[in-house]
């Protein structure tokens, strides 16, 4: 039932212990990691040249304003270097044959023309490639036809007012090869400085005195003779193209800062066109350059080699140029045909674009291959087909943004200063086309007034996008927020219909935005008028008071919705899985991840629009669903890591420290002078090596770090980069791979602590970076190798709470092959679902629960304890011990390796509007139950009023949005109309938050005649009179600006959800809860079901209000996360733990009292002892011990002292 059970047909066959994951976005990456870390081999297929997906394109993420790239890049790296994840980038899945458990698939990898293994990602090829346009290549030669020189019919002289200023700096030496010379005199005619001496029937000679080095002779000498030789040209030994690039760069430096220069007659354009591109459309003349505009192939090479910007692309041709746009930057800037997808790309290996590369089309150029130091470029690459065997498939190809041209009234595509939200993300991004400065594309002006228009391609029946895209309200708020952060003069306004900030802490985020003067206007704009002169944009709207407003903005951002790309729909067709009319996968609320084809599971926005945390949840859940059926084959196809023997150093070994100062793109380097810091680091005692990578965490940098450690035989490593909490483990594992103890490492955070907090004081920020680096070096010097305790893992799972989350988790964990203890406080399983009636699709929860209970009862791996509670908990990740009290009063101790908290939530029942006093007032849950019973006989013509947010989003009751109430109300209202068509229903709401596909029901409800009246608790609260004699509600309906009086027979309150009482449990498990009593996840974006403490996970409404199917997803996700742990034989403990030196212990018991975890005890040797496995490494005992006999790993006094001393040392 749950867990997307898929019985492999071919039962006799054993399932294959591998999974194919389609799509390398955050969803695919998370699935891949959870699978690979649980002993399942993964084939990850990504159609673009690198993994990362949409998240890599985003600047910051809501509601924490974390840098998207900063939090995703560790995952990129982990996937990139994972032994059990095989990456297929620039690849497509052709087909999937066979059945669940034993699929075979064909993967087509398109020709990349660059060898992924050999390439170091240095990016030099991209630098030297002279092509900037999509060329119009000359007709290919027919069979046997031999190449004839192209002759221009249309010519144009390019010149400035004055004559060319002939310059011969860095000039090459040209001479005539007497053997080869055909005595034709071409060079003689071409030379404009009469430096070529020639008479009829004699070999030409070049007078070096007169020669200016323009190379007209070289260009003129016929291909078949090639009698002109070039010398004194750096890089010429590589290729002419390489030499041209080198000289061009030298000249560019020469002329840097000099504007509007005339042609300097360096000849590079002419030589490039003739000798590199083999076109010969350009020729030097006395007054300038003659362009054969009809034969020009519009590759742009001449323009990019010109050192003085004398040439312009539209001047040299009669065709209209087609610039090659950077798709990763949403076409906001240009790129070369050979291109690395983005700076942190994994793999950081370029792809050559077949459409625009000159060599691939005409055989000319070939400059990139000539300069590649490792010979990684192979123009003869063909596409490769790979056959793989997998047990399951995860379909997570992701989504695209709505094409805003379909809403022509906003002028996207014609009005330059109207951009889409994803384009705006790139404009905000430090690695984007404007390096994070907000400018408008029309004229690069800094916009002051910027407007966001919501629901462009969402909630729009007129263009078949009936659904809500779920993320736009929040990302628009975030973009406005960040824009203002980048440039405080920006005045953002967001035009919206309903503010759908339904997620955990989302409302707080919006409130914060309002405090930062971000204006929210509840009105839709009908069209945008562009001022043809200024490029400013006029928006007209009717405000809430009903007055027409006209407002001018300098830039407008269209909050485009999410949609399933055509290519994905086709892929789904090839995989034979069913999609709904919008292209989202067909799934059911009980098996939210199972597609119509057994063994293929879906995850991410292609399973309905959703944000990053929900996608990460689904990704883990899909991994669980996909691997459950393969549990038998776990570990059968994976490779185990073998670390090199750890090097041992003695006191008298010379100190050899390597320091890596990170640019973090522009995050650090834009403020901190990383060169200076690097140079400074080299001067520090013990430092033998220092460098400054663009992204120290990127895969290639990490590879390089490993090589450097070995090459320079380092015994300490320091990085000055970002936050240790996110990146230290990555760097440490690199140390281990280089045979160093991972504690021979320290890290200075010069991003958060320098560039981010002192953006306006580069000098001091740089000074501070030097100091922090110095301190880190000192600490590394003081560092000692620590060994890590290894211990075996108990593979059983304790599930606390027997609601739908706990029950699902139990069933799934059992299918994964683990023993489960399921502890429920109540006498029966089911939790809150027992009080609810039907799922979104209309299925009866009763039957669903019955089914679940049957599975639980039928599985001997699951032990259920009803009317029981966890009263004590001890142990540590991998081997916990929990004590439970059973109904008999007897206690019992359970041993297990992980804990899953699924304590759930319940309906809130506030004392509002005589709820519980009058039987004409009830909650949605009561109402649903009553309806399920067929209602009352007199309901046929009933008037029902529903009040949304009754005690929600209200400081006096529940401060938060309960997320489910709007959909619940809509479903109940529809059901009422279904049973009693004559009944009348009014719904009083603040914002209808029918996110995702819920919007479709909302529309259905409106069309069924259910009336929705918006109210504002401050501006126009409804006046509600509840009497025995009857109910009366008076409210101002802003849509008609009139009072509306309702006399309902029934008042139904949407009261929201409140967390169950878990205070004791929380303190017992030492895990945090928020003010509302919901558990706080380890990371709001990327670890949504992990609790901060090792080995603890959570699922369902214990984390926050959510629907039953979202709960099922979380349960499966939590099991997936637990499986990465329970599936291991053994774990290793952190080396950073407290250690008592018994000899000087005074047995004062200070540590015993001080430890918040109750770890220290007095052993039979009458000394304090600390079990390293239990110690959390907080260091309190170390600080408290009066005798100073407790030490803790790398945070010892000597470390701290070393740091402090080096701080003050100058």
């Amino acid at each position: 039932m749950t867990g997307n059970v898929t019985v492999p047909s071919g039962k006799e066959k054993n399932p294959t212990g591998s999974v194919m994951v389609i799509g390398g976005g955050i969803s695919g990456m998370q699935s891949a990691l959870d699978l690979a870390n649980a002993g399942i081999k993964v084939h990850l297929v990504e159609s673009s040249p690198a993994i990362g997906g949409k998240m890599a394109q985003l600047d910051k993420t809501f509601p924490t304003n974390d840098c998207s790239m900063c939090i995703v890049s560790p995952k990129l790296v982990e996937v990139g270097r994972h032994r059990n994840i095989e990456l297929f980038t620039h690849s497509e899945v052709r087909d999937v044959r066979g059945d669940a458990g034993n699929f075979s698939a064909t993967i087509v990898s398109h020709a990349r023309y660059v060898d992924v293994q050999a390439c170091t990602g240095c990016g030099l090829c991209e630098l030297v490639c002279p092509v900037t346009q999509i060329s119009t290549f000359p007709e290919p030669l027919a069979e046997g036809e031999k190449k004839r020189k192209l002759r221009a019919k249309e010519k144009r002289i390019l010149k400035k007012s004055f004559k060319p200023q002939v310059v011969s700096v860095h000039k090459w030496t040209f001479s005539v090869d007497e053997e080869a010379c055909s005595k034709c005199g071409g060079c003689f005619k071409a030379c404009l400085h009469d430096a070529v001496k020639w008479e009829k029937k004699s070999v030409a000679r070049i007078d070096q005195e007169k020669c200016t080095g323009c190379g007209a002779c070289l260009a003129a000498c016929p291909e078949k003779f090639q009698a002109i030789t070039v010398e004194n040209a750096p890089e010429i030994e590589k290729s002419l193209g390489a030499a041209i690039h080198t000289r061009s760069e030298l000249l560019k430096k020469e002329f840097a800062g000099k504007e509007g220069l005339d042609c300097v007659r360096c000849g590079l354009c002419v030589i490039t066109c003739q000798k590199v591109m083999k076109i010969g459309a350009l020729k030097m003349t006395a007054e300038g350059i003659e362009a054969g505009i009809d034969i020009c192939q519009v590759c742009g090479a001449c323009v990019s080699v010109c050192p003085v910007n004398f040439l312009e692309i539209d001047q040299v041709t009669n065709k209209s140029p087609r610039p090659l746009l950077n798709t990763f930057n949403e076409g906001l800037n240009n790129r070369k045909p050979i291109n690395i997808h983005y700076p942190q790309a994994v793999p950081r290996v370029p792809v050559i674009d077949e459409e625009s590369c000159v060599h691939l089309n005409t055989g000319a150029c070939g400059t990139c291959a000539s300069i590649c130091g490792v010979g990684a470029i192979h123009y003869d690459h063909k596409q490769i087909e790979t056959e793989i065997e997998v047990g399951s498939v995860i379909f997570s190809p992701g989504i695209e943004a709505f094409d805003a041209r379909l809403r022509g009234e906003f002028g996207y595509g014609s009005y330059k200063n109207v951009v889409t939200s994803i384009e705006f993300e790139r404009l905000l991004s430090a690695s984007g086309p404007t390096s994070g400065t907000v400018t408008r594309p029309g004229d690069n002006k800094h916009p002051r007034k910027v407007a966001w228009i919501q629901c462009v391609g969402s909630r729009d029946h007129s263009c078949d996008r009936d659904y809500c895209s779920s993320v736009c309200c929040m990302y628009a708020t975030k973009e406005a927020f960040i824009a203002k952060e980048h440039d405080s003069s920006i005045e953002p306004t967001i035009f919206y219909i309903d503010m759908r900030s339904f997620g955990k802490n989302f409302d707080e985020y919006v409130t914060r935005a309002k405090e930062h003067d971000i204006k929210f206007v509840r009105a839709m704009v009908s069209r945008i008028f562009e001022d043809p002169v200024t490029g400013d944009l006029e928006l007209r709207y009717v405000d809430e008071a009903g007055n027409k407003q006209i407002e001018i903005f300098e830039m407008v951002v269209l909050s485009v919705g999410l949609q399933v790309p055509q290519t994905v729909k086709q892929l789904a067709g090839r995989l034979d899985i069913e999609l709904d009319r919008y292209g989202f996968a067909q799934t059911s609320g009980y098996t939210p991840l199972a597609t119509s084809r057994p063994g293929i599971f879906v995850s991410g926005a292609v399973n309905g629009p959703k944000d990053i945390p929900e996608t990460v949840c689904e990704a883990s859940a899909a991994a669980e669903a996909a691997s459950a059926a393969l549990a038998g084959a776990r570990g059968s196809l994976i490779i185990h890591e073998t670390l090199p023997e750890e090097k041992v150093f003695t006191e008298d070994d010379e100190l050899r420290i390597g320091v890596f100062i990170c640019h973090c793109g522009t995050n650090i380097a834009s403020v901190v002078d990383v060169d200076a810091v690097t140079e400074y680091a080299k001067t520090l005692p013990g430092v033998v090596y220092a460098e400054h990578p663009l992204y120290t965490c990127s895969q290639d940098s990490q590879e390089r770090m490993r090589e450097i450690i070995e090459e320079h035989n380092l015994n300490r490593v320091v990085t000055s980069a970002c936050s240790p909490s996110t990146h230290e483990p990555l760097f440490q594992s690199t140390l281990q791979q280089a045979g160093l103890n991972k504690y021979f490492f320290d890290m200075a955070n010069i991003r958060d602590q320098c560039s981010w907090v002192h953006p306006n004081d580069p000098e001091l920020a740089t000074e501070k970076s030097k100091r922090l680096t110095r301190m880190a070096v000192a600490n590394a010097t003081a560092g000692e190798p620590l060994d890590e305790l290894e211990f075996t893992v108990d593979s059983r799972l304790l599930v606390v709470g027997g609601g739908v989350a706990g029950m699902t988790a139990a069933v799934e964990a059992a299918r994964q092959g683990f023993g489960v203890y399921l502890v429920e406080r109540e006498p029966r399983l089911g939790g809150q679902l027992l009080n609810l009636q039907r799922s979104a699709e209309g299925g009866r929860f009763e039957e669903f629960l019955f089914d679940l209970e049957k599975q639980i009862a039928g599985d001997e791996r699951i032990r259920v304890f009803l009317s029981s509670e966890v009263v004590d908990q001890s142990g540590f990740v991998g081997s916990f011990e929990s004590e439970i009290v059973m109904p008999t009063g007897a206690t019992r101790t359970l041993k297990h390796g992980a804990i899953l908290v699924a304590t759930g939530a319940e309906e809130n029942r506030p004392e509002l509007h005589d709820l519980g006093v009058l039987d004409t007032v009830m909650t949605q849950t009561d109402f649903e139950a009553a309806l399920e019973q067929g209602g009352e006989p007199d309901w046929a013509h009933f008037r029902v009023a529903m009040l949304q947010c009754a005690g929600s989003r209200d400081e006096d009751h529940l401060a938060y949005c309960s997320r489910v109430c709007c959909n619940h109300a809509v479903r109940n209202a529809l059901r009422m109309k279904e049973v009693f068509p004559e009944a009348h229903i009014d719904v009083l709401y603040r914002d209808m938050r029918c996110y995702g596909l819920g919007e479709i029901d909302y529309r259905a409800a409106r069309r069924a005649g259910i009336n929705f009246i918006r109210f504002d608790p401050e501006k126009n609260p409804p006046v509600i009179n509840t009497e025995e004699t009857g109910l009366e509600i008076t409210v101002n309906d802003p849509s008609i600006r009139m009072q509306v009086r309702l006399r309902p027979d029934l008042l139904v309150l949407s009261t929201g959800m409140k967390a169950r009482e878990t205070e004791e449990l929380a303190s017992m498990l030492r895990v945090p809860r928020n003010d509302a009593g919901f558990f706080i996840e380890a990371h709001a974006k990327l670890r949504p079901v992990d609790l901060p403490s090792e080995g603890l996970f959570m699922a369902g409404t214990a984390h926050g209000p959510k629907s039953s199917s979202e709960t099922i997803v979380q349960a499966q996700a939590a099991v997936a996360r637990a499986t990465t742990l329970l599936s291991k034989q053994s774990l290793t403990m952190s080396g950073v733990v407290s250690k008592v030196d018994p000899t000087n212990c005074a047995v004062c018991l200070t540590c015993v009292r001080a430890c918040p975890y109750g770890v220290p005890f007095i052993n039979d040797q009458h000394a304090a002892e600390i079990n390293p496995a239990l110690c959390q490494g907080c260091g309190i005992c170390v600080a408290e011990c009066p005798a100073k006999v407790i030490s803790i790993g790398r945070f010892d006094d000597r470390n701290i002292r070393a740091k402090i001393e080096s701080y003050s040392a100058v």
Partner: protein
């Protein structure tokens, strides 16, 4: 506008049925206000477009038939075209005007129906529009005798106005069409 209190209880069901018959799904509205903000004539309205749609959903026929808006609407179809819920607002306006005339509600903008009347009168008589006749008739009906006199003359002098009507063969059919027999609402 006045602050009288309305109640969904008093919906005019007959009116709502008529809208249904013309596929005007006023209930589909989710109150985004695009229709109001895009209306070129909105500045002259007493009820903005969304108010018309929502009042229709509340079955407030009378309020609507007495409004200026229904007459000032120029049938430019901007609202209906941009409505994300595909509500046929222009048809709603047609229905409201037609009902107002059939029920003999005194129009808030008398000149406009007067114009329509004159125009249709000329068609029902000749089968095609005859501008001079129509204009004359309108001036009498609306009492706006002097307005646009100069413009009229200019047009006349530029030969844009024919002296005599062009009358078609099938006048009988046209009369039949105007006879009001077999009106869809009565079917």
């Amino acid at each position: 506008m006045d602050n009288a209190c309305i109640s969904p209880g008093e919906r005019n069901q007959k009116f709502l049925k008529k809208l249904k018959a013309r596929n005007v799904d006023v209930h589909a509205c989710y109150q985004c206000g695009r229709c109001s903000s895009g209306c070129p004539i909105g500045d002259f309205f007493d009820l903005n477009v969304m108010e018309v749609v929502r009042l229709a959903a509340y079955g407030q026929e009378e309020r609507l038939l007495n409004s200026h808006t229904i007459w000032l609407c120029a049938a430019c179809e901007t609202c209906g075209t941009r409505c994300p819920n595909d509500i046929e607002i222009p048809v709603l306006m047609d229905v409201l005007r037609e009902l107002a005339l059939r029920k003999g509600v005194k129009p808030a903008e008398p000149r406009i129906p007067a114009f329509h009347g004159s125009f249709l009168g000329s068609i029902s008589r000749w089968g095609r529009a005859w501008e001079i006749g129509m204009i004359a008739n309108y001036k009498v009906k609306s009492g706006d005798l002097m307005g646009d006199m100069k413009l009229g003359m200019d047009m006349f002098l530029k030969g844009k106005l024919k002296l005599l009507p062009h009358s078609i063969e099938g006048k009988a059919e046209i009369r039949e069409i105007f006879s009001g027999k077999g009106k869809e609402y009565d079917r």
